[in-house]
Symmetry: C2
Subunit: 337 residues, 2 copies
Amino acid sequence: MLKFDKEKKVNSVKGALALRPEIEKVIDKIQEEGFDAIYFMGIGGTWASSMQVEVYMRGKSNIPVFVENAAEYLTTGNKRITDKSVVIFSSVTGTTQEMVDAIKVVKELGARVLAFIDIKGTVLEKDADYCICFPENEQLKFYMVANRLMYNNGDFPDYDEYNMEMEASLAEALVDVEIKADDFAQEFAAAKYEYVKQHPDMPHYFVGAGNQYGSTYSYAMCYWEEQMWIRTKSISAPEFFHGMLEVIEAETPVILFMGEDEQRVTAQRVADFLPRVCRNYVIIDSKDYELKGISEKYRGSISHLVTHAVTNRIDVHMEKELCHPLQIRRYYRQFDY
Amino acid sequence: MLKFDKEKKVNSVKGALALRPEIEKVIDKIQEEGFDAIYFMGIGGTWASSMQVEVYMRGKSNIPVFVENAAEYLTTGNKRITDKSVVIFSSVTGTTQEMVDAIKVVKELGARVLAFIDIKGTVLEKDADYCICFPENEQLKFYMVANRLMYNNGDFPDYDEYNMEMEASLAEALVDVEIKADDFAQEFAAAKYEYVKQHPDMPHYFVGAGNQYGSTYSYAMCYWEEQMWIRTKSISAPEFFHGMLEVIEAETPVILFMGEDEQRVTAQRVADFLPRVCRNYVIIDSKDYELKGISEKYRGSISHLVTHAVTNRIDVHMEKELCHPLQIRRYYRQFDY
């Protein structure tokens, strides 16, 4: 398989899951001390990850957990964020300007800050009360925070059973998804290359709901737009029916992500609608993957990781088909703006 | 001027502003009774309006005001919405299915409901504790709610002065915007027709921030996509720099909305960036309009109404240029889905 290091991937997920004692210690302390609210703060892809963890908790727990966009916080502000609040964020580089500036403001306010940063020694690490350094697996880290918060709040009685399953099976299960998805991904990428060559202007429509929405938004923007320079539009499945449906014609390219959380029914509605008006759609459904060792009842909590494993393979093959190295940027960090 | 009834427009805004005593009575009662939080609930365009009022209050008041999407509420739920919560919504038809279903759920929960509905006698009216029936002006109604909430909370000491100005000048000021914008709108629409004819696949990129973001999202989706069947992508100005910028080339069509609230600086950053990489952008800026009788300090609170007045004129001319009546739909409410 192209650009696929199975052992590295397994170790990455296992390493993230092994952060659990460290995460639990921080979260237990935060909950013992009390808080008025918890804000997952981000920008771009990390804002999208914040949306994923908020929607995960929204229906399960009354813990006041909200999402804040760093650039909006720096301008509009948020009067509800106080010295009793907790701000949680993730940063790959530890240097994203909006995050550096926003964390300064919340620290001056007296809020507590928990940072997940991929590498040690960055400016953002210094500003955080708690910093957990480990590469990648942003969504997994956020969900581990969410799970502990909910466990301590009495919302997650089978927390231990859940973690036992994840720690025993998640890493291998996700690698199996990548292996199973590879043929599909290769064909998909080859077909997309042909389509993009013939229709360079056409946006590719990405639809997702629930914990798939954040990943749909960031997959369209941070991968296809930013890394591949292909036009996209992303929309949540419920919103699809309130305007966007009208521009879907027989040949319009649509990619629907389906997960297994409570909002699956809204994605299903899109899946039922699409074949009536469109021939050119693809459904990427976490249900198509076995996830050995993971109970049915827990699949919804990781279905965004499953579809992400599928898109990992798409990205590898798109890079090859497009002859476009995914690390190059036209403008981003190329000059001051 | 094409399809322009000045008197009707003035009376519409004046009629909405005259709802103030009725709105104040409801809001005062709600605040006297107390609440754990207020949720502006919507879907599609009404969800976008909810985002506009939330961001308006976020930096000014610590009143717990949040946005809820009706379809997400019906599936994911929200454990923080309780019998002590207040749900506020607006509906043109009073029949949108997701809203009808969601309001049933919050009523069963015991939450109080304030409805703004354009017409009397709908099913949604019956389910509301308070219903204010008056056509159009959704954002204005929501902002009147916000202003009263903030006044009662001590966040808006010059409430009376503000209302005096709005009631004396807003209706005429907005009509003047439409008159001033008409030539621009006509030229813009003619140019867009030519562009769309030559580039039917190309999405038109709409960018906005702050109280412009909700209107940017709904203008792209509910007007261009739903009513004109033209492809769009909307993005908030801060997010523009975290991925989407990479697909902007010299001829990519971008429309930037600029308002005068706290997030203007983020839109200004886009305005400064665009000319360096793009020739085909248009800026619609509330600052370009006089707004006679409105103080500088209040302009930010209505700049989404100003840009909306500009797009009103664009819509009229687009309808003519495209030869596409804006009330026709391909799919929406045409068959069951």
